[in-house]
Symmetry: C2
Subunit: 496 residues, 2 copies
């Protein structure tokens, strides 16, 4: 088979894969936004059928020769597609369909139990389902690892190219440097904004304005509203993001929009003509999160961003926003608190929650800890790292959906996103000037252009560590993130 | 293989088919309602991939034995599923995938050309694409017919169990009896309602009220808004209908809601536990249309329906509806006119448009007429049947999307729906009393209960002619429809 024929055959195979993934994303978007409650079971079956067909398609032996030929291509996009195809097929081969199915079924049961048991912090109920799920997940990790480190095999699902050995020293360094910052900053910032009411339609209208302003292309996507903000790629030309609306305060809506907007700009920045290939995507969740955090934290917390937005706020909320200055929004956003809930955490404390989870879940997967010991270990660890103790397991080990869903190895990607975002912000400042000044003079466009060139346009040609090394000039490091925290919070605290 | 094992195997196979159909319906609903314009190509590819997988799944040889065993079942639902499986697989075998693909591609091209060429009535442009499409459709018809009548083979796609030989005498009888009615009624009814503005949100709110009132279950579906009203079943527990909104008049919105509501009630009336089987659906488009026409014409044009709705109209549209009595709505709805556009036709003239199309498309498919002769034949036929001549081909042979999309054999199902609806209305009156009186006393519930028992609850166990024979006590006939027209229009015209 010559290389053109091989590439053409591989494209055909990848196109079907992209279509199945896009179709599943449409079904998921619909489920998150408008699906009637009675459809839940049927939708689950439809998604399971698509997943089964995807699995079978992944293992299609007739494309093997084409992959082998394309793997030797000197076109980096072609070679990357072949490399990812090999990896995806290897995963599919290693995890038997019976285990995939058992995981999906136990995960559904476990999530349902978690949702019921969490409010009361009913640890026994949670353990009764998450226990068997952990057993299956260990089995999956061992199958994927094929003799290697089982936790690395799970990280690899979300963050290919990164291992626990790479992560561990960076997380340790981060924790050590963040803890004194928390000591210095806890209780600073604020006060919160007045409780409104902040008109819900006006919040969505402002969100759309912000999305357009940062460069989101509405012809190739849309902005929706969901309980849990999300971004999805539904195929070429179809990137959707959502935000949430809380009538008592508008910052949650706008910050979620910026966060999801960062993901969406990444998705829209993948070259359209690559979208039906395996290389036409982001290389990892950490890379994706670097984009959401960039816009949320390095743009959305600047005084200049709020200088630009506050006339729109005043016009959209003539009563609720009356008398608020740009600095009021920034101060309300930059409040630092010791509290146990990850998703409600500020930018300073957030990563301590991740450090804890990463250590605990590694111990669970390697077998160094049993799941029954997780709740107590969680509470002890949170107290040690952050100086706060959860009142119940609902504020402790049971708070997140991830473990209840059998998702282990995912948490570290949040912190990778924070660190890479800070590295990118530093590189952007070197390239186009201080972010605040750029926003004040030219708006967000130069920042997007920088990210398009250094990150989005490369798709999945490189793994994330190499992509970020080329984009920022340095390896993964906590330095830029710590510097960002010190700079951002110096004005409102005893750091100054 | 014993019967239980065979039924279980067949269910597994049918479940995948149902999931693929449901997934495709979700993709289509999304496309019709919110899909961004840039996603059109990707969505087309996703739907084509799902269609290809469906085709391959249909032909899966490993289910043959199970189908054979279940075909002998004395459970009518099981036997019907096996019968339909045989038919669907036979169709898939007879039409090679290359022809399916060629039809889909040429249909896309032809529809795009039609959309561009229609406004100016550019017959040459239209013919340049619809000509090759007709050639492919003839090929498809011959393949499906396998030696039988090619037009019957196409009818069979939409209306299994009905042949042109059954249709032709009924359509001839219908045309002969409708034409004097048109002569007597043309120009009667009206006037139109005032042009408002009729608030768009209020129109959607009224639509939702009407949907709930006729028995639509919102837990298992939803009401949306589209340019072209549509009903879709997206799987068990997920029936969606849409209506259109015209700010200058509300009747188009409400009548479209009733029409689609009839389809939606049918879909929701299929027993949920049958939904993943081939028998768990309506047996034909004509059967489906009988339900939409029942609610639109036999309920929605009654004085009692408008008696009940007009307080809501007055409240929703305090200005636009001021001073309107129930009879004003009924009169505006029951205006009879000779005009060339099918979709704008009133209840009296509508079926003459269908009679014409049925005769013409049969001649095209059998080869008695060439597609180049269609525009002139259309104009001549419309003049002969209805006494009106289209000004351009945009009002003539080019007006509908069907032929431009390669859909032949579909048109007669509209008239079958009208005739079956009138037969059902007559049977309903015999069972529960005059429709107007029922509506006035008990609302729509007894009518829905009648349709649930006689039609919806039977799924696709019988073909439509037998289902309707059992439901109404008689074979397909124009008599009840003509009687309905005479009764409805006698009060407003020279018929009285």
């Amino acid at each position: 088979m010559n290389r053109d024929d091989a590439w053409s055959r591989l494209n055909e195979w990848m196109g079907t894969l992209a279509d199945l993934d896009g179709a599943a994303a449409v079904l998921e978007w619909d489920r998150e936004t408008i699906m009637p409650p009675g459809a839940a079971e049927a939708r689950g079956a439809q998604l399971a059928t698509l997943a089964g067909l995807r699995h079978r398609h992944l293992l299609d032996g007739s494309v093997s020769d084409a992959i082998d030929v394309v793997a030797g291509s000197d076109d980096p996009w072609q070679a990357a597609s072949a490399r990812i195809a090999v990896r995806e097929r290897q995963r599919a081969e290693r995890v038997p369909e019976s285990l995939v199915r058992a995981l999906a079924e136990q995960s559904s049961r476990s999530v349902a139990t978690w949702a019921d048991a969490r409010p009361a912090g009913d640890v026994d109920a949670w353990l009764s389902e998450v226990g068997p799920l952990v057993a299956l997940t260990r089995e999956q990790a061992a199958a994927l690892a094929d003799g290697g480190d089982p936790y690395d095999a799970l990280i690899d699902l979300y963050e290919p190219g990164t291992t626990y050995a790479m992560l561990d020293p960076v997380l340790a360094d981060l924790a050590e440097r963040v803890r004194p910052l928390v000591d210095a900053l806890a209780g600073t910032g604020g006060p919160a904004l007045p409780t409104g009411p902040w008109d819900e339609d006006a919040q969505m209208a402002i969100s759309l304005e912000v999305a357009r302003d940062i460069g989101f292309d509405e012809r190739r996507g849309l902005v929706g509203r969901t309980a849990h903000p999300v971004t999805m790629g539904l195929g070429a030309g179809d990137t959707r993001l959502s935000t949430r609306v809380d009538v008592t305060e508008p910052l949650s809506c706008i910050m979620a929009l910026l966060h999801e907007g960062g993901h969406a700009l990444y998705d829209q920045g993948i070259p359209e003509e690559r979208r039906r290939t395996l290389a036409g995507d982001a290389p990892s969740l950490g890379a994706h999160e670097s984009q959401s955090r960039f816009w949320e934290n390095h743009v959305g917390r600047t005084p200049e961003f709020w200088e630009a937005l506050s006339p729109s706020m005043a016009a959209a909320f003539p009563e609720a926003a009356a008398g608020l200055a740009p600095a009021d929004y920034v101060r309300a956003l930059n409040r630092v608190e010791r509290q146990p809930i990850r998703v409600e955490s500020d930018e300073v404390t957030y990563d301590l929650h991740i450090v804890l989870r990463t250590r605990l879940e590694r111990a669970i997967i390697t077998g160094d800890m049993e799941v029954a010991d997780l709740p107590d270990a969680f509470d002890a660890g949170l107290h040690e790292l952050l100086g706060v103790t959860p009142a119940t397991a609902a504020q402790g080990a049971m708070q997140d959906i991830h473990w209840a869903a059998g998702i282990f190895g995912y948490f570290p990607t949040y912190t990778l996103g924070n660190l890479y975002a800070a590295q990118l912000a530093e590189a952007a400042e070197a390239a186009v000037g201080p972010i605040g000044a750029v926003l004040a003079e030219d708006g967000p466009a130069p920042l997007l252009a920088f990210l398009r060139e250094r990150v989005h346009g490369h798709g999945r040609v490189m793994e994330t560590p190499e992509l970020m090394r080329q984009a920022t000039g340095s390896d993964l490091s906590a330095d830029p993130f710590i510097a960002h925290l010190e700079r951002t919070y110096s004005s409102t605290s005893s750091l100054s």
